[in-house]
């Protein structure tokens, strides 16, 4: 009965989630800039010329056609608004914002329209809308010159979305949960933001069942068991936590790793339950620190876990700066396992 499960990349897994859902439900449409590519040129033999920034949407146009797979002009406020309007009137749109850095061009639609519509209207309308947003800097690449996508194309910024009541915000970390969370987002009757880490989109690969499945929104997951400290990761940082846990294991420190998975609403219970056992917490977030999810989680645990914490809750985040271009600077920007290990050393009073 059990066959070897296929391996898919993170991006392919999201693609499969969207594809399977679009097959199931003809009211699902997907829109964004160059999500298909070469729009209107099928007659010249050009279809599927682009496929979005992480190539997540590649192939959808050939299966579902240009009426359900809509390339948009550069008009984030307009097309995210159109997705909101479509979600109000019988469609279930999935809309892609090319990078989180561009939410400044459609922030009203996300935080004032999509997030609040159901509440403001006294619940009379559902809003089945998925907003997919790639995010993240490259971090350390080992390159000694040149650079990355710099300050306006490398941000993380999910805290400014999670801040707003009414939005659910998820951040998948593996191909497996990327498929399950995306499917759950599509089936949710309210607005859900799916934050897709750019690095994971290309690099993460793993077994993904072929059949459709959902992973519940609102649940964190313990991805490694440990006794001495809890490392709580968001998105790509969960992998950094796992790396750090491996390093710590080599030193005789047993670290538990919790993958947050949903930023809003946060699964406080799972995180608290872990910290109740380990008595120590480090939250790792690649976003900048002020009013970040890292500090949010830290504050909740420091409050509700006060009685069982043996040490202060530490956060490991990007520095309080924009993302620099130069590879040698960006290398120090995104938190690495060594930073997490160092934070644990501080907590345990041990040396590296």
């Amino acid at each position: 009965m059990t066959t070897a499960v296929r391996e898919l990349t993170f991006s392919q897994a999201i693609n499969e989630a969207i594809r399977q859902e679009m097959r199931r439900d003809p009211t699902i449409v997907i829109m964004g800039e160059d999500i298909a590519g070469g729009a209107g040129r099928a007659h010249l033999g050009f279809v599927d010329a682009w496929g979005g920034p992480l190539r997540v949407t590649r192939g959808l146009i050939t299966e579902f056609g240009p009426e359900r797979v809509l390339d948009t002009p550069i008009a984030e406020m307009g097309f995210v608004g159109a997705a909101v309007g479509a979600a109000m009137t019988g469609l279930r749109p999935i809309v892609e914002v090319l990078f989180v850095d561009l939410i400044g061009c459609c922030y009203d639609q996300i935080i004032n329209q999509a997030a609040k519509m159901h509440y403001m209207m006294g619940g009379q309308l559902d809003l089945p809308l998925v907003i997919r947003i790639p995010y993240g800097a490259r971090g350390a690449t080992g390159q000694t010159y040149g650079g990355g996508a710099a300050a306006q194309h490398s941000q993380t910024l999910y805290s400014v979305l999670a801040h707003v009541p009414g939005l659910k915000v998820v951040a998948p970390t593996t191909a497996y949960n990327a498929k399950g969370l995306t499917m759950a987002a599509i089936r949710d009757d309210g607005p859900v933001v799916v934050m897709e880490n750019k690095f994971l989109g290309l690099a993460a690969k793993g077994p993904v069942p072929e059949e459709p499945y959902t992973i519940p929104i609102g649940r964190a997951e313990v991805v490694r068991r440990g006794r001495d400290v809890t490392l709580c990761g968001i998105g790509r940082m969960t992998h950094v936590c796992l790396e750090a846990a491996a390093l710590l294991a080599g030193e005789g420190t047993s670290a538990e790793v919790v993958d947050v998975l949903t930023l809003a609403p946060l699964d406080e219970a799972t995180i608290l339950e872990s910290v109740a056992r380990t008595k120590r917490l480090v939250v790792v977030d690649e976003d900048t620190p002020t009013a970040s999810m890292a500090r949010d989680i830290a504050a909740r645990v420091a409050d509700q876990g006060f009685d069982f914490l043996d040490a202060p809750v530490k956060t490991v985040t990007a520095p309080e700066t924009p993302v620099p271009f130069a590879a040698v600077l960006e290398a120090h920007y995104v938190p690495r396992a060594a930073n997490v290990v160092a934070a644990v050393h501080t907590l345990l009073g041990t040396g590296g």
């Binding site: 307009g78 309007g85 329209q113 509440y119 009414g166 009757d189 519940p216």
Partner: protein
């Protein structure tokens, strides 16, 4: 005169409906104004008085299944599209029987059952939602049309530009209705809009753009009717600029005499859409004074009833503060 021809194409029912809606809007706004002036807290009330012919002319050309997206000055749009004034008034009273259970107030009145997609006070955003509704109609092949109202002030915001281009390239069934009442808050249109007629911007999206007398319900109806036909035929969107006037200040607390003259107001009021309709209908013998008086009386009574309903309705339970935040509660 072209006017007389237009009357001819409308049924007696339609004419009565137009008069009914225009006077109901006015009655609603005047009664609300009395309440607000007497101290009822309402956040912000942007009265539609003077502009009734626009909402009614547009909605007269729409079917019940069609949609409208509205603006902060939305009471008139609501009533023209068929929202019941009782829950509307209850909403303004912050009662749980309100259209939005008291959670929205004047700036968010919504009734999706009659195709009213929401008063929306973030300028321009409604036009994008209409584009989405029209996309929905197209994909689901329902034949519905979406009309989007926006002001002369809102015409300068980027969202409107983006919405028009989207509707145009996708040939969506949208009717963009610019209500040019001469002002955005206290800012005159001639200061804020570089071009004489906002309708001229339609050419930038290869869509038809027309200017109509927004104080003539037939002119508005006729232009909308043509645009709706185009839209339903799959030919794409249109822009209609209605030159109109708001009789009162921008919102309940504003004194418009700080930025416009009494003379200007008088000129506009002399062209009052309701009086012109009434006089025209009587002069031409299309409707009788008794028909119209009966409507007036009915609408007065309806407002008495709406206010009484709002007054006796219960307040929301404080627990409602935290309900309906999420559409589906997260799994625990």
């Amino acid at each position: 005169m072209a006017i007389s021809e237009r009357w001819a194409t409308l049924t007696r029912e339609r004419l009565l409906w137009m008069y009914d809606r225009m006077t109901l809007i006015r009655e609603f706004e005047e009664r609300l104004r009395q309440l607000v002036d007497a101290g009822m807290p309402v956040g912000a009330a942007h009265y539609y008085v003077g502009e009734e012919a626009v909402a009614v002319g547009v909605c007269a050309a729409l079917e019940p299944m069609d949609w409208i997206a509205s603006t902060h000055r939305g009471h008139g749009h609501c009533i023209a599209k068929g929202v019941d004034v009782r829950p509307m008034m209850a909403e303004l009273f912050g009662k749980v029987t309100g259209s939005n259970r008291g959670k929205g107030g004047s700036m968010h009145i919504t009734d999706v059952r009659v195709g009213m997609l929401g008063v929306n006070p973030i300028l321009g955003m409604g036009t994008t939602h209409a584009v989405g509704a029209a996309l929905s109609a197209k994909v689901r092949r329902t034949g519905q049309v979406a009309a989007a109202f926006f002001g002369d002030g809102a015409s300068n915001i980027g969202a409107v530009h983006e919405a028009m281009n989207l509707a145009a390239i996708w040939k969506l069934p949208v009717v963009f209705v610019c209500e040019n009442n001469g002002y955005a808050q206290s800012t005159p249109v001639e200061y804020a809009v570089a071009v004489q007629d906002i309708a001229d911007r339609a050419a930038g999206y290869a869509m038809p753009g027309v200017v109509v007398d927004g104080q003539d319900v037939f002119a508005v109806w006729e232009a909308t009717d043509a645009a709706v036909r185009r839209a339903r035929a799959g030919t794409g969107p249109s822009l209609i600029e209605c030159k109109t006037y708001r009789y009162y200040g921008h919102y309940h607390g504003d004194d418009p005499r700080r930025y416009r003259t009494a003379e200007e107001e008088e000129v506009a009021r002399a062209r009052d859409c309701i009086r012109r309709f009434r006089e025209g209908a009587l002069t031409r013998g299309l409707l009788g004074a008794d028909d119209l008086d009966a409507i007036d009386a009915r609408n007065r009574a309806l407002l008495d009833e709406a206010i009484a309903f709002a007054e006796v309705s219960p307040l929301p339970d404080p627990a409602e503060l935290c309900t309906d935040v999420y559409v589906t509660e997260p799994s625990e």
